[in-house]
Every structure is written in C-alpha cells, then in structure tokens.
Symmetry: C2
Subunit: 446 residues, 2 copies
C-alpha cells in the first residue's frame, strides 16, 4: 500500500482543482476532537511521531499518479500536476503524551493548500485512532494505582499494525511490558508472556507441563494455573516451583472467571507454601473498570494484563475528530452548518495549573501563569527536533496526569475540565461569522 494513495478520493479531486485554479496560497488546517466520549475525563495526545514520519516521506510518485488516474477513471495526463508534490509545510502540534481536552487542536498544518489538503485522511487516521487508544490505556494506569500493567492486545486489535500502535501507546503511558514481540523490539518495551491453556493440554498432566516449561526456560517462569481447576493448578504450580527451588521473579497467571476470589485463595496457598515472592498475574477481559474493581476489593494481584478492550478502545473506539480549514491566504475561514460550527484562525492552547486551559489565537501572548501546548515540530517539511523515543512523551504524560483534577481522574464518572475560549478568539469568530452571513445575503441579491 502506498501511503500517498491511502487517502480519500476527494482529497485528490480537491487538490487537482486547487492546482488548476492557482490556489496554492498557505492554508492552515486544525485537527481537533469536538467532544470527549462518555467515560473519558481527558485525552492523551498520541500519533504525532508516526504522523511526522508520514509527512516527511510524503511524495506523489509516478506510480501514485497512475493509481490516482485509474481510481478517477481519467487519463494519466490529467493527474500529472500532482506528480512530485511533497509536503514542505509547517506543523505545530501538542507533543505526544500531553493531556488534551475537547476542542483543543492536536495539530495544525500550514502549507500550500493542495499539500495541506492531500494529507488530511492519513493524518486523521493516525491521530484519531491513537488519541482514542492512549486515554483508555492511561485510565488503566490510573486504576492500577501504581501496580504494573502489561499489554496483551495484539490478537484483538484491528490488525497487526494497530497492535503495534496499541503496544507503543501502552508503553507511552507507563505500562511495564507488552506481549507483542515486534513492538517490544521496535519501541524498546520489555516483552512479557507466560503460557496458554493450549500449552498445558497436550501433556499427560498439568505438572508435567509446568516441569517441561521450566526445563526449556531456566530462570523465572510463570505458570498458567486455570486450564482445568484453578485451586489444583495453584497447588501444582507451588509444588513444582518449590521442587525446582524457584521463587522470586516467578508467577502464576489467572485467566478465567472472577479473578478476585481465586487470587485471594492462590495468595494464601502460595504464602502457606513459603512462596511469598511468587507473583499473581491476572488477565481476561480486563480494562480500567475491571482493574479498578479488583484494586478496590483489595485483590492480591501483582500484575494486570489488559488486552482486547484497551487495544480496541472498546467503549470509545473512535473520536469525533475533524481537520478543518481555519485560514486561507491570511484570511480566517470557518464552517457554519448546524451543530458543527468551527472557529477560525490558527490557534494555541494556553495551559494553566490543574488543566485550566484557554483556547486562543496562535498569535496571542501566553496569559500569565500559562504555558502554550502547541509547539512547532516541522518547518519547511523538516522536523525541528529528532524523533521522540518513548521516554520523553512518558515523562510529559506523567507530569500532566499528576496535575489532572480529581473529578477527571475518576474511573466510574469522569468529568473532563472544560477549556475556555480567549476573548480575542471569541471576537474573531463573531466577526467571521458575520462576514460569511453578509456574503451569503449578497449572494442572494445577485
């Protein structure tokens, strides 16, 4: 798949028309999420790093032109004005890991109109998806209240590439590991894994399975204890661990049914066997709600593995995000249609303490005691800084999450902070709306 043709057809028809009409003046598009989904007290900016990679690589090649012409059922010559077009614009964006709220631009692109238009679909696809998954993972971190989390999502994400991103985002918000080997390598996250029920079944007994596993993997091991009967499985695991003189670094995993009660019985059994250092790992349909319930009940679970519901952001698998033209050739523009009015002009988010944010114009001064969230991350199509590793966004996430008001941190009923709009932005919005309405009346008079 060429990244250039992984786009909506209309980006191409529009870009061609802009070129034909000589409309290559700078345009600014603002990418933002209109409203937070229920069950979210915040979003966490994510996807910028791959987005900048995409913009850096973007170039319409000869084979792309051929593909676009085929899709449009037009002669190749008609599409040739696009050939060689690359992205040489400016990008201002909220760095990954920072918390963002409704209406706040995640990213603003300023580039000649055809370029800025052509990259819309792919940018949305990267940022919407990742900014939907990251807060789900972040809420697991809040629920776990300091206990380690591991990502097991790869088998249920929307394909393997989505699984790679989910693993990265879990790492970004502070997970201790991922089961995804390729992601562990690519992003420098510890790889984690135990065994499946299918491992135990072909052996003549659970005990033989555990012993065989320990033979292949000398050192700390984790045994899955609920293939047949959990309490017996725990007893067998304890016997094998003691026999082999194993303990610290080892674990047992529970993966079925209600996890709290079996964990408590397992903890007692392990402690009585003198295996106080052996950890209990829980998995199976967990997300922030399940983790929170177990933590509140005081279940003796040392590590929680979350997968399906986090990797698919199951309760809010998409965001109501938009990529809207806000300025063309120095003139602020906006859309008026019902319930989807947008605000004009390039913007900045001024963050005050406790995430009291003000959305203002990019050219405004930062109000005292606030910090601007959007930074210039690309200029003339080139990154202004080397690519981020995971450490930097993780540090930003930790700082912002520490400043998040209590009601936004709630797992059960989160209430997100509401950003306000600066006086200057509100005034400009009114002026532009008035101008457009006047133009429409004029149009009627023609």
């Amino acid at each position: 798949m060429s990244e250039v043709t992984a786009t909506d057809l209309y980006e191409v028809t529009m870009a061609l028309s802009y070129l034909r009409e000589g409309m290559q003046a700078p345009a600014t598009f603002s990418l933002f999420v209109r409203d937070l989904p229920p069950g979210r007290g915040f979003l966490a900016a994510a996807g910028l790093e791959p987005a900048l990679g995409y913009l850096s690589r973007f170039r319409v090649g000869a084979s792309d032109v051929k593909g676009l012409a085929e899709a449009l059922r037009r002669p190749v010559e008609d599409l040739e004005p696009l050939q060689g077009l690359s992205f040489d614009g400016q990008v201002r964006a909220v760095p990954e890991g920072r918390l963002v709220l409704a209406g706040e631009p995640l990213l603003e692109v300023t580039a000649p109109l055809p370029q800025a238009q052509l990259v819309e679909t792919y940018l949305l696809s990267l940022l919407c998806h990742q900014t939907a998954v990251a807060p789900k993972a972040a809420r697991c971190v809040l629920a776990a209240a300091g206990r380690p989390l591991v990502d097991f999502s790869l088998r249920r994400t929307h394909g393997a590439e989505a699984g790679m991103q989910a693993a990265r985002l879990c790492g970004l918000v502070g997970f201790a590991g991922t089961s995804n080997v390729a992601a562990a390598r690519r992003y420098g996250i510890p790889a984690a894994g135990t065994m499946a029920h299918s491992y135990v079944e072909p052996f003549a007994s659970e005990e033989q399975a555990f012993r065989a596993f320990a033979r292949t993997h000398p050192g700390p091991v984790t045994f899955l204890v609920d293939t047949f009967d959990t309490d017996r499985g725990v007893a067998t695991a304890a016997r094998v661990l003691k026999d082999l003189g194993l303990g610290p670094g080892c674990g047992i995993r529970l993966d079925s049914g209600d996890l709290g009660a079996p964990a408590r019985r397992a903890r007692t059994a392990l402690d009585e066997a003198g295996l106080r250092d052996v950890e209990i790992i829980a998995s199976g349909g967990l997300d922030e709600y399940g983790v929170d319930r177990l933590v509140r009940k005081g279940a003796p679970i040392d590590v929680s593995a979350v997968g399906t519901r986090v990797g698919t952001a199951a309760d809010a698998p998409y965001l109501d995000a938009a990529y809207k033209l806000v300025e063309y050739d120095g003139r602020p523009v906006m859309k008026l249609s019902s319930a989807k009015e947008t605000a004009p002009s390039p913007k900045q988010v001024f963050r005050g303490p406790g995430l009291r944010d003000v959305i203002g114009l990019a050219k405004e001064e930062s109000p005292e005691g606030t910090e601007p969230l959007l930074r210039t991350v690309m200029r003339g199509g080139l990154r202004t800084e080397p690519p981020d590793t995971l450490a930097a966004p993780r540090a930003r996430f930790e700082a912002d999450i520490a400043a998040l008001p209590e009601e936004a941190r709630s797992i059960g009923h989160p209430v997100p902070p509401l950003p306000t709009v600066s006086t200057r932005l509100a005034a400009l919005t009114a002026v532009v709306r008035h101008r457009i309405e006047a133009q429409m009346l004029e149009g009627d008079g023609q």
Copy 2:
C-alpha cells in the same frame, strides 16, 4: 514489521518448549467466536484470504530468530531450533462471506504443534477484526434495503491497514464504492468521493467553488451543499448544474445535522428546478441504525455513505474469539476452566435451510439436507484453490443473507439462530471431560 515477530511472546516460549520436548505431533486448533455481541443477529466470515496469505508466507528467518532472542533476553543459539520453520499444515475454513454463528469454527488449523501454536496471534488478529467489521457492514446493507452504500471509513479506522480491510469488507457485502483510493485499486472496488467543506471555504462564494470544481472535473459532479446554509447551498448547486447543462449522474451531498428533513427539502428544490436525475447523497455519523431510520422515514436519500461507526465496528469493535487446541496427536483435548469450557476434536458445521446449523465432529457424515461449511483451503502449507477475488465471497454472502431468518435480520433487536450440537460431539465432550477429571483425581493421589 516482520509478520513472524508480530506475535505474542508466549507463542515463542511455548513453541520452543514443544520442540525441546519433541512434541511435534499434529495438533488441531479451532478458531471460533464464543458468543455474538449484542446487536448482531449473525457474523459474516471474513479475513480468511489475508490469513492464507500470511500462512503461505510464514517462515522464521535468521533476523526473526535474532529478534526473538532479544525479546526473550536469551542467547541466539537458544532460539535457533525455530529457524527455517514454516507452515506446512492443513487449514479447513468457512469461506469468506458465509454467515457464521456463535460457537462455529471459522477456521481449523492442523499442523505440527509448534507451527500451529506460532501462528495463533496473527491469525486471531486478522480474523477477529475482520469478522467484527464485516457483519456491521452487512447490517448496513440490510438497512439500506437495496439502496447503494459507500464506505468513507478510512480516516477513523484503527490505522490505514485497518482502513484497507474495512473497504474490502464493505465491498464484500455489496457496497457500491469506497472513498479509499488504495483499497479501490487493490480490490477492484469503484472509488467514490465528492468534496469537503474545506474546498468551499477558500473561494469567495459557494457558487464560485462549485463552478471551479466543475471546471476541473468535467462530467458528473457532486456538490457538498451544507458548508454555510443547506437550503441556500442546494439552490446554488441547482443553479450551477442547470447553467452547465449537467444532471444525470450528478449529486448533492448532505453531511450535517438531521439528514431527513434537509433531504426532503433538497429533493423538492431539485425537482422544481427540473433536476429529477440529480441524486442526494447523505453522510455524517451513519451506520445501520441511522440508515434504517432514514429509510423508514422515507427520506429521499439515494446513496448513503457510512464511515466511522462501520469501519471501527463501533458498537462491537471486537469479538470474543478463541483459538483453542482441540486435538493433539490424535487425542481430543479441551479446557475446563470456569465459563470458558471448550469442546474437543476437529469440527464441522452442517448448515440446514434457514441457517439451522448443527456443530458436529469433522468426521461425521453431513446429515441429510445439510451442507458442510468448512472446506479444506490449505494442504501441506499450500492453498488448494487460487486466491478469491471479491466476487465469490460476495455471492456467498448474498445467498446466505437471503436465507437468514427474519428475526436475525432485524436492525433494532436481532435474534441470532442458535446452532445445536450433534449427538456425537456432545457424547465426546462428556467422555473427554470425564477423562480429564479422572486424571486430576489421580494426580491428587500422587
């Protein structure tokens, strides 16, 4: 990303252990969905084609071994037994496009245990995701009741690869087109697209925008009419279309707010302008529920574009799918743990009229008047048939959906048919459960 390392770490630790223990006898794993999510009266088998591609390509190379060793923090030599391992097993599967129900195997893999284990994660990732999206798209087809649908999902899917699959699945269930240029080319689906609000805004007026678009794109055009005021937009579009002598094949698109009332007003305005052939295309947050509501209200919408909610299968973005060992070395096996008991042995689904299905043993004869759903699609690691195009699965889907009982077709309250279990499978399940329980008691006596 190497497809081989896009796997859960435990597949690797288990495969290594099987090899070390000499456990390379044939194993059969069964991939099935335990329960249908609420809001689904059926599933549609999807993802087999890419899954067979994956199995055909599967081969552990030297760089994979290096990567796996790094992830496991073990010397490369320890992982070398995996090097060169490829997939040379058998696959029996439900062909894409056929409807499937709870508990019915989508696919069964029979291969030497280490191979069959290593491919688990990636197979699940392909089949779970696609079999979640396909029925969502299929329900839109039911709701549209013969009216054409177009896929606009790419910008909100979980990355571009997921968008490619979503477009393909929409094509598979009979959508008329996709906005996704790369998918249109790869899968031979018509590419479709109009213009965005951002196209209209940089022009001095809506009318100038429409005229410019028609200049660039001679022939049928579709104008987006709700950038500022929908009724005025429709009037402007009608004026421009008439001026240019355009009509048949052209359209207007509505993309904001309640779509029914503006569509009715637009239809009246277009008809009064003598533009009876100009179609109305609706988009904006639609899925089967929205399409159904508009169809029931008799809204004069000719084409519906669905995106976000379909491409992410928003109300059921994952399936409760499992890949379970059911036979090893000729011996049926199963898992007993709470609420997740599995049935042993390779299986077949015998489909009777009206999707009255019986899940039985693979070696059973088809009961009279039924048809076996699983076919052998790979033998010795090689496909038994050339890759499917979209036409064949689409034909299968159309045949099955025509046979689906009315209550399963309901948009509001679908009730899926419940497959029954054959006497022989039920008997074998009881025998194997008993055998395992007896072994556990024996184990206790040791």
